[in-house]
């Protein structure tokens, strides 16, 4: 059965300061699937991800979500629906409990603990100082903070690249468990082994152009 489209791109380009960062990108991202964006450094991967929550705006072409132009949605509602987790976690509040509630202050303690369990931090005290957490724990807390707003799509920009091996493995395990849920995940990664393991579909960017697409075992870039 064909999967429904979440995002579709129609000849999308982005020109910034005279540089063509993305050029002629046309494809789609399936609902409930994990799509990996790969390519060399500077190929436009992160910019592509930032188009999906409107942190960037295409200068040409159209992006649609559920068939509607992305810019026809209320931008704040869109960003709750399509949540971006950055490469380096930034803690916004002093304590773990406050951090999960930063965008949803009405969450109960039980709901916060449930979210912490989803990101494999089940025994974390809510009054623990965020500054005392390891990089991996901070990244998982950032994931819990994003999950708290109830997104349908998670955008993950190199979520483990700033972490040591041990922390990266813990974050990886959480991402693996999240992709089995009903979430649509779009993942930018340079770790090709992880992409093969996690992704249902791979888009390969090169100098801002989409040069390959397909299953992780089909694209030549991963062979």
């Amino acid at each position: 059965m064909a999967l429904a489209e979440a995002f579709s791109f129609d000849d999308v380009a982005l020109v910034k300061d005279g540089h063509r960062i993305l050029d002629g990108v046309s494809d789609h991202i399936h609902k409930g699937a994990t799509t990996a964006i790969i390519g060399t450094s500077g190929s436009g991967k992160s910019t592509f991800l930032r188009l999906l929550n409107r942190f960037e705006e295409p200068t040409e072409g159209k992006i649609r979500l559920d068939g509607r132009p992305l810019d026809s949605y209320d931008v704040h509602a869109l960003r709750r629906r399509v949540s971006l987790v950055a490469q380096r976690p930034t803690m916004l509040t002093p304590s773990v409990g406050q951090e999960v509630r930063v965008a949803c202050p009405t969450l109960s303690d039980a709901e916060v603990l449930q979210l912490l369990k989803r990101v494999a931090l089940p025994d974390m005290a809510l009054d623990r100082a965020t500054s005392t957490l390891s990089g991996g724990e901070q990244q998982r807390l950032a994931l819990a903070r994003s999950l708290a707003v109830g997104p349908e799509v998670l955008l993950l920009d190199e979520p483990t690249s700033a972490l040591d091996e041990h922390s990266a493995a813990a974050v990886d395990a959480v991402i693996r468990s999240l992709v089995t849920e009903d979430l649509t995940v779009v993942l930018v990664s340079h770790d090709l082994d992880r992409v093969v393991e996690l992704a249902d579909k791979v888009l390969v960017l090169e100098n801002g152009r989409l040069v390959e697409r397909g299953g992780p075992r089909d694209v030549r870039y991963l062979r």
Partner: protein
């Protein structure tokens, strides 16, 4: 004390040139290479003050309240240019600075005039307005500078909040408070130590003009409170306008890079 102003005559002013000479000799002796700057600064001060003195004499004699307010408006415009010049990377910086300084000045001068605390005559409105403009300019300048630095340094923090669906205003709220606090500290500190570290300008001027110190402090108290209010209003208005200017209509934070 009877009013017996000890104001130097032109001969006295000429004698004070000796002080510039001392500064020049000292800087030459220390090989600071500042002789030209010192002489140029002294000359500029002389010419500027002469021109302002002549203009104010005409203004006080003939302009009336409207002329005085026009003069104060001119000062606001110049102060806006100066405040905006410190944050060249900010979008819409000049309108922000003009409205920020103007709001502080209009509020405080308006209250003082409406309540009859100061006389609505040019010889009062212009010097008092000058003090308020200066205080508002400093607060506006510090607020805009601090927020420009925050928009650059705290970009990951602000974008993390935006990514959770917050508005630009919500994402900037913690930083706005910090920016306004930073801008208000000089006004609060100088109010705290007034009279302890140095005698402030308005009071010094009145005492030099022969007014009893116990009378002069009444004016100074009004001036200090006026400067606090002006700084607070200017900082808050400038902070809100800067915040609005930092985001586009899709609540994306503009990329601002501080000047090298």
């Amino acid at each position: 004390m009877n009013p017996s102003p000890q104001i130097p005559d032109w001969l006295g002013v000429a004698a004070s040139v000796l002080l510039v000479g001392i500064a020049v000799v000292a800087s030459s002796w220390a090989r600071l290479g500042l002789t030209r700057d010192l002489v140029w600064a002294a000359l500029r001060a002389f010419v500027q003050l002469l021109a302002v003195g002549a203009l104010l004499t005409i203004l006080f004699d003939r302009a009336g309240l409207l002329g005085a307010l026009a003069w104060v408006t001119g000062m606001v415009v110049i102060a806006g240019f100066v405040a905006a010049g410190r944050s060249p990377e900010l979008p819409r910086r000049r309108p922000t600075a003009w409205v920020g300084v103007g709001a502080g000045v209009a509020t405080t001068l308006g209250v003082l005039l409406v309540l009859g605390v100061i006389e609505p005559t040019p010889s009062v409105v212009v010097p008092v307005g000058g003090m308020v403009v200066s205080g508002s300019m400093t607060a506006t300048n510090l607020t805009m500078r601090r927020l420009a630095d925050i928009a650059h340094q705290q970009r990951p923090d602000i974008e993390a909040r935006l990514a959770l669906g917050m508005t630009g205003g919500e994402a900037m709220t913690p930083h706005l408070r910090q920016g306004v606090k930073t801008a208000l500290l000089p006004a609060i500190d100088s109010t705290k130590v007034v009279g302890l570290i140095a005698l402030p300008g308005a009071m010094t001027g009145l005492i030099l003009a022969g007014v009893e110190p116990i009378v002069a402090i009444r004016y100074q108290i009004v001036v200090m409170y006026m400067l606090l209010a002006a700084a607070a209003v200017s900082a808050i208005v400038a902070a809100h306008l800067t915040r609005r200017a930092l985001f586009d209509d899709a609540d994306r934070l503009y990329r601002v890079t501080p000047p090298a």
